[in-house]
């Protein structure tokens, strides 16, 4: 009863999916020692096309090639899911301006805050890093408030 209230669409796929996300992180960690996050790809990839000093730092240039490979792997993993267990070609109904505006803020926020849901939320929380726990508590709290306001304004989907 409680389970159905909290997880009206089932719970097992969430848990197994989460364990696989963690497993992907561990594959990279055990072989390379790298605790990878998905958002640094944005800055490191911009180093290919922008000569701004921010993007030309060694830590972005030195990691930009494997970050491209990591991201292509994520895209490929999504495609394999879509073609096997999922629904390949599924598209979101969330309006384009929400995706674009939200994306800009996500791009700024993850870079200012040094990480995202994978870097801070998975690797940082797993490390019990105070920095990451504070960052995650902040973005989850603010996001819940924002989503409530957006819904209250009648924006849907």
């Amino acid at each position: 009863m409680v389970v159905e209230t909290l997880f009206p669409n089932g719970w097992l796929h969430y848990l197994i999916g989460g364990l696989l996300i963690g497993t992907g992180t561990v594959v990279i960690y055990l072989s390379t020692g790298i605790t990878a996050g998905a958002s640094t790809f944005l800055e490191s990839t911009l180093s290919y096309v922008s000569d701004q000093s921010r993007f030309q730092q060694y830590r972005f240039r030195a990691t930009r090639d494997w970050r491209v490979v990591f991201t292509l792997g994520i895209v490929l993993g999504g495609a394999i899911y879509g073609l096997t267990l999922g629904e390949f070609g599924w598209t979101t109904d969330v309006q384009w301006w929400r995706l674009l505006a939200g994306g800009v803020l996500v791009g700024i926020g993850t870079r200012v805050g040094k990480g995202c849901t994978s870097g801070h939320g998975v690797c940082g929380v797993g490390s019990l890093s105070e920095t990451s726990l504070l960052n995650v508590a902040t973005f989850v709290g603010i996001a819940i408030g924002t989503a409530q306001i957006v819904a209250a304004l009648g924006v849907s989907p």
């Binding site: 992907g24 790809f41 674009l100 805050g113 849901t117 960052n135 973005f139 996001a143 989907p157």
Partner: protein, 154 residues
């Protein structure tokens, strides 16, 4: 390490395999659907807690165990450690800006890449937005550090 020289031949394959498993997990957990993330943020489906909790326990266990061994990674020689980022006011500021963006759109970087793989071309709006945001942030920081450099007394 230079950009390509000296890397173990299995370095890139390991990164790729890790990325594929990571992306498949984002598919199975439905985090690639902004709708599912938004249902969590509207407090009608708490699945995201299982996803982030499950992922961080698996990752955190590996980090803790391997760090305790004091060993180093076979493909890089990098010593096993945990993810530690420095604490400053940007951690909260950035988290707040990210939170507004996540609440508006239901998307985050890794999930957006996986969503593209599932065939959700509409997510390109979000990915384009993320690059614009990261560029704006980098442009501002490049300018402000250049300003600081010129303003420093001789």
């Amino acid at each position: 390490m230079s950009e390509r020289d000296g890397r173990h031949p299995l370095f890139m394959p390991a990164i790729l395999v890790g990325g594929v498993v990571f992306g498949f997990g984002l598919g199975l957990s439905e985090m690639y659907q902004p709708e599912v993330v938004l249902r969590f943020l509207q407090l009608t489906d708490f699945g995201l807690l299982l996803v982030m909790g499950g992922a961080s326990v698996v990752a955190g266990t590996a980090f803790a165990v391997m760090s305790a061994t004091g060993g180093s990674a076979p493909l890089t020689g990098k010593q096993f450690g945990k993810r530690v980022k420095s604490m400053d006011k940007n951690v909260v500021l950035g988290g707040g800006i990210f939170g507004v963006g996540w609440g508006v759109s239901g998307i985050c970087p890794g999930a957006a890449y996986a969503s593209l793989g599932v065939g959700n071309v509409t997510i390109l709006y979000a990915i384009a937005g993320m690059f614009v945001g990261a560029y704006v942030q980098g442009y501002v920081r490049s300018s402000s550090s250049a300003t600081q450099a010129t303003e420093e007394p001789a």
